[in-house]
């Protein structure tokens, strides 16, 4: 206990450093939020899109003298879910550049303004108001999360502004009204589609399920289980785990008892990669089938040899042998450090291209005409698959299944029929 005062001082400094580091982290977040918020507000305030490529295209704007094809891009652009907004924006930038390179839409320049909802319903309502008040705004590409989408969707529908969500899966959303659309399938539809795929296309009869404790993981597992039974399959085991767990040996030992031919995993890849490893270590030879939360290159990075041959449901297959898809992937990679696009980017791109097509069919850049055309247009062939809307505004779209092969996600040989 020499120099106790000195040590107390050192301790005090460390503690203060610790507190500052902690508070600092919080501050950092807030600071970032604020700065980026300002940017986002500026974006929203500006009449023209601020993205690089679209700005480049203003040179050609002389040729585009029609009413502008302007829309709102809504999603979490900052904060803890900012990665979703980043993908959303990356997909939109590619669409804008492509539209403007081809003379815009109905002779009008394509542009967007961003609305940052932070993934929060309260913020989403404010974003909605901003977009509704902008009379040039033709439609909204967003929002991304179900909660934010429901909150903002009520306002859009009331104001007669079309909203097309690329990613909100809650079933209630499209019940809000005729101005509300989406191009991703609900968890219930995906669950049913995967069940039919498992039983009818793959011919599996003994099926086990492992799912996480989120609404998504459980909801999807419920829909899947029901549809498997309806299709004549047998559920030989169903287990739950907590998101963030690392040890699944007990659950998998239970599942192994039922000797399943196929194990359906409903959740996200961080746990999924470990489930696959532990199942293989327990010598389970069942075919693995993962939900769309598994469709990420990280699954392969973390899962190694154990995820080889795993089937994964996805809303966008980046390896699809389709020139449209490959052109998009190429463009995305060159803009984003060679990363493969995720389905959020692909769906955002598809929303814009789909509405642009509707506007062309309507023949004018007008809110109501576009909404009308969305309801009457034929199947649109997008990069995320063929898109048709039902009378409710929900998408009718086939499921895509990819398989882990040679360290990447490739189109699976057997596709849902």
């Amino acid at each position: 206990m020499k120099l106790p005062r000195y040590l107390v001082l050192v301790l005090a400094v460390v503690m203060i450093f610790g507190v500052v580091a902690l508070v600092g982290c919080g501050d950092d977040d807030t600071a970032t939020d604020e700065t980026e918020d300002t940017t986002a507000t500026e974006d929203t305030g500006a009449t023209e899109d601020t993205s690089g490529e679209a700005t480049d295209s203003t040179d050609e704007a002389a040729a585009m003298d029609g009413a502008p094809f302007k829309f709102g891009l809504a999603g979490p652009m900052t904060g803890q879910y900012a990665n979703y907004g980043t993908s959303h924006k990356a997909g939109a930038d590619i669409a804008i550049a492509e539209l403007n390179a081809n003379g815009g839409v109905n002779g009008g320049e394509a542009s967007y303004t961003t609305g940052d909802d932070l993934g929060d319903p309260k913020e989403a309502v404010l974003v909605a108001q901003k977009f509704i008040d902008d009379s040039e705004m033709l439609f909204v590409n967003g929002h991304m999360f179900s909660g934010a989408t429901i909150a903002a969707g009520q306002n859009y529908n009331g104001a007669g502004l079309t909203m097309v969500s690329p990613s909100a899966t809650n079933p209630d959303i499209t019940d809000l009204g005729k101005y509300i659309w989406r191009i991703c399938m609900t968890d219930a539809v995906q669950g049913e589609g995967l069940a039919n795929y498992s039983v009818n296309d793959l011919g599996m009869t003994k099926i086990a399920i492992i799912h996480d404790d989120s609404d998504y993981g459980r909801g999807l597992a419920d829909a899947y289980e029901e549809a498997v039974v309806a299709a004549g399959g047998e559920i030989v085991g169903r287990e739950q785990y907590t998101t963030g767990d690392a040890d699944f040996n007990s659950q998998l030992t239970n599942i192994r008892q039922g000797e399943p031919e196929l194990l359906f995993m409903s959740g996200y890849y961080p746990e999924g990669s470990k489930i696959a490893q532990q199942a293989r270590a327990l010598q389970m030879d069942a075919q693995f089938l993962g939900s769309d939360g598994y469709a990420a290159d990280e699954l392969i990075e973390l899962g190694g040899a154990s995820v080889d041959g795993m089937l994964v449901s996805t809303f966008f297959d980046y390896s699809k042998d389709d020139p449209k898809v490959q052109a998009f992937v190429e463009e995305f990679k060159s803009n984003n450090d060679d990363a493969n696009p995720d389905w959020f980017a692909a769906n955002s791109y598809d929303v814009i291209m789909l509405v642009a097509e509707a506007a062309r069919q309507a023949g004018s850049n007008d809110r109501d005409a576009i909404n009308e055309a969305l309801g009457t247009m034929d199947t649109y062939s997008g990069i995320s698959g063929d898109i048709t809307f039902d009378e409710n505004g929900d998408v009718v779209k086939p499921l895509s299944i990819v398989v882990v092969r040679d360290g990447a996600l490739a189109t699976a040989d057997v596709q849902p029929q």
């Binding site: 206990m1 610790g18 080889d308």
Partner: protein
Amino acid sequence: MDYLIQQLLNGLMLGSLYALIAVGYTMVYGIIELINFAFGELFMFGAFISIAMMVDSMAIFGQQVNFPGLHFLLAVPIAMAVVAGMGVAIDRIAYRPLRNAPRLAALISAIGMSILLQNVAQAMFGSSQVFFPDIGMFTSDNGLPKYITVSNAQITYLQIFVVAVTVAAMLILNFFVQRTRIGRAMRAAAQDKSTSALMGVNVNRVIAITFIIGSAMGALAGGMYGAIYHFAKPDMGFIPGLKAFIAAVLGGIGNIPGAFLGGITLGVIESLGSAYISSEYRDAFAFVILILLLIFKPSGLLGSHISEKA
């Protein structure tokens, strides 16, 4: 029967890892009556440093840094040494100045340390999962783990290795505490710090050694946990740290064989609980056991069995 054996093996493996971290809690508590919440983070650093030693290059603070690419059996001891040093430094900086302060102050300091270390790890290694490389001697040619079959129950080489290392570490530790001079000094300091100081025991040195051993055990557990579950991540230490603390209390805090017994018991209870009751309540079993124990046998399984606390 095969099913029961498999679940027991699962529990034994999980319990071994809890036991190794629990040793750190129990030894430090035995001597300075402090719950060092930073052990969960030392466990995490053990996993990260093991990975760093095993790969050729890895991003640290966003920069690619070259590493030696050593064998697992060499990487883990290095991680143990580094983490042992960290443990001593933590004691020196955050606990020793508070040795004679109210115990609450040291506890708060421990929580602060735990959060600080987690943030440092996040800054260094990023917040997403890092892959723990395959270990050649435990992996077969097709990339899957090697295993043996015991009456239809599968156990991988790595799991056997983990249990064997844990048992060996516990035996060595017990020998060290019971049979060596420093061990005797530890037990003396645990019973009465000031009296043992009067008898010529360098108490601060004994405490430093306690931190070295406890932290090294945590790092050993971290390295093996990372190898089994193939990942490391800055918040990975929180739940295992908490479970290990329960294991230490379960076995009788301050008692080394107790920590071992507590860890194994907890692992087996969790496995059998999710096997025969429900996997949804898996984490709850640990806490239910803790509450029951505190009501019926607050001193823990071996708490009153051995009089000295080290």
